[in-house]
């Protein structure tokens, strides 16, 4: 455990001594909850259409696949015409593209970022490394199945998939969202214990709160 995360006594500017426990005091102590559809079917359908037309991707490249996302921003592929754009912070994005191999060290950051994203949120696994480990199937430090740790909506196979494959994958995701089947955030809330147990089984120095929001 890092020193700044330990429970300790601090002195305030006006001289008081107070006890702080960063993991308890600075983070929410409530687990995620399942959010059922709130409105009638026809309105939910409209919402889902709107959600599918504004996929905002968290600009977090976890592996080599991140290089395939850059051309999508350029005029040649121009993902923006499909309502897809990249955002600098998890608070503004609703799509997490896990781009390629994921080391356990990066997985830790990915979990923190994913949990900070607001629902409804979607995860796309890009490249064969996220599906079954790919060429890193015997590595001591990269995970094999992304869906053990995060709920995944769409996998895009390939090593690496071309930008066209990504666009096709995003179109597929849109269909899933419009059909109301992109329930990743709810799945995560429902099976929260299972996901946490899996995450903790590979991240040995778990020095972060269980709820990162």
């Amino acid at each position: 455990m890092k020193e700044e995360l330990l429970k300790r006594i601090v002195k305030t500017p006006d001289g008081q001594e107070i006890e702080v426990d960063p993991l308890l005091d600075y983070y929410c102590q409530e687990g995620p909850t399942v959010q059922p559809p709130a409105y009638t079917a026809i309105i939910e359908k409209l919402f889902n259409w709107a959600r599918s037309e504004s996929l905002w991707i968290l600009g977090f490249g976890t592996g080599c696949g991140a290089i395939e996302m850059r051309p999508l921003m350029t005029p040649r592929f121009d993902a923006y015409r499909y309502g897809i754009q990249w955002r600098p912070t998890p608070r503004q994005s609703n799509l997490f593209v896990i781009s390629g191999y994921l080391s356990t060290k990066t997985l830790k950051r990915v979990i923190r970022s994913y949990e900070q994203m607001q629902g409804p949120k979607y995860v796309v696994g890009l490249g064969s490394c996220t599906i079954n480990g790919g060429m890193y199937w015997d590595s001591y430090n990269t995970i094999k199945r992304l869906d053990d740790y995060l709920p995944v909506d769409v996998y895009i196979a390939g090593c690496m998939p071309r930008p066209e494959a990504l666009l096709a994958g995003f179109e597929e995701l849109k269909k899933i969202i419009r059909a109301g089947k992109a329930e990743g955030a709810n799945l995560y809330a429902k099976n929260f214990e299972w996901y946490k147990a899996n995450q903790k089984s590979v991240i040995h120095d778990w020095d972060m709160p269980d709820y990162n929001w």
């Binding site: 079954n132 480990g133 001591y140 990269t142 991240i203 040995h204 778990w206």
Partner: protein
Amino acid sequence: MVMQALYDTLKQRFPLGELTVQRDNLAFITVEAVRLYPLLRYLRDHEGFSHLVLLTAVDWLEDGQFQLTYLLNNRAKCQDVGLRVMIPRDKPEMESIHDLWPAAATYQRELREMFGIDFPGSPRLEEEFILEGWHGIPPYRRDFDTLAYARETFRDRPGRETRDPAQHMKQQLYGDKGDV
């Protein structure tokens, strides 16, 4: 020839081991662990090898030794010289050279984490470098079984097949006729 001349010059001052000349401007010299530090300092201050290119290790499991390789570069003459040091595997400890090249401290941190080689006195040696929360034997040691570790730590997705690429393509292109 140039490297042989350098070796002869060094030989007058230091007891040296074997010389391996790879190219006209690249050679490796084996030295004892205790001779390394003064030799590095001499090469840096008097022979113009001012740049530490890399510091790396090889695990000779069968011989019970680690080999440390210090690669130095002479910019002006465009020469590289590598110094090889063998240290015992059961007591992996080496003198730190962070005061000759500060950058060496980073290599030494990496070697400590990946091979478990200790460099007493090197700055920030105790801190984690790449791996977080690693316990067990260091992963770059050859007696660490990567495959077994991956199997017990990460779950497989069923259905993965491995094929010999040549055989697979033959089958795809020619079907059962195979040898045609």
